[in-house]
Amino acid sequence: MAKRLIKIFLFLAIAGFVGYRYFYYVDRDSNCFIKIKPSYLEFSASNIKEGIKILKYAVPEEYEKLCIYVDTINPNISCGGFQGGCYSFYNDNVKEIDISTANHDFLSSTASVIAHETCHAIQFQTYGREGIDEKECYAVGNKVMTAVIDF
């Protein structure tokens, strides 16, 4: 009986660790919980988590928007292509964005793509399909990129 309990505990601990490490972004202080779907090709959850952390500390206003308007990130290749991003209003979940960055991608670019797709999520959730405006979101991405780079 004790052996079985230890096995169950170990299984839950490992599953919890893997889930927390690769499939969730959790920031209790900011009430921010984002699910990261499994990435079959790029295995890029750590790059995405780093990108989110960059927004949190270097561009907090964009981080706040991300935590409100996005609850799921799909890291698989989507309409944005490799190293890009995408927001699809055909998704059942309007709070889902696609971020197709690879694991060792340049981090300011990942943070910028996350902010860009969050901008589309805000546009769609606020104004519907007519609200989608690429120019506004390119400007948000550029703002993030210029804010975080130090060269």
Binding site: I54, F106, L107, F151
Partner: protein
């Protein structure tokens, strides 16, 4: 009886030592690991046109020549990555960006502890010295970013 306990202890001591050596070697293969200084830095080399070896040598040089700066590097840098560019902005939005928004490294991304160095496969003393200077400089920038946040968190 005593002999058998002694044999068991020796067996586990040797096994432990072998395990420690294996862990040390495997961690060191993909990163810079200096357990005595509690320093671990991931290194993402450019397989096609870079050299992780000169990054590790640069870190050892900093340790030898400037221990104060070495402590800063260990505290404020967790990844050193070789890249052929740093992206500074989006030329679709901002015209007149240097290099159209793509410049040569080194650079640092605020909010991370990652610094980027220009890919270089040359393995000379000059490259090691240049890399050491760049690592110290950009670790300082990371420190400038994180220090106020660390103080606020405390």
């Amino acid at each position: 009886m005593e002999n058998s306990i002694f044999q068991k202890i020796s067996f586990f001591a040797v096994l432990g030592l072998i395990l420690i050596i294996i862990i040390y070697l495997s961690v060191n293969a993909a990163s810079y690991f200096d357990p005595l200084s509690w320093c671990h830095i991931k290194i993402h080399g450019d397989i096609a046109g870079g050299s992780e070896k000169t990054i590790k040598q640069a870190l050892r040089t900093i340790k030898k020549t400037n221990p104060g700066a070495y402590a800063e590097v260990c505290n404020y840098v967790d990844t050193i990555s070789e890249k052929r560019y740093c992206q500074t902005g989006d030329s679709r939005v901002e015209s007149g960006l240097e290099g159209g928004g793509w410049i040569d490294p080194p650079c640092y991304v605020k909010g991370s502890k990652t610094i980027y160095l220009l890919s270089d496969k040359e393995e000379s003393e000059a490259v090691v010295s240049k890399r050491a200077a760049q690592i110290v400089e950009f670790a300082r920038r990371s420190q400038t970013f994180w220090q106020p946040i660390d103080l606020f968190m405390k």
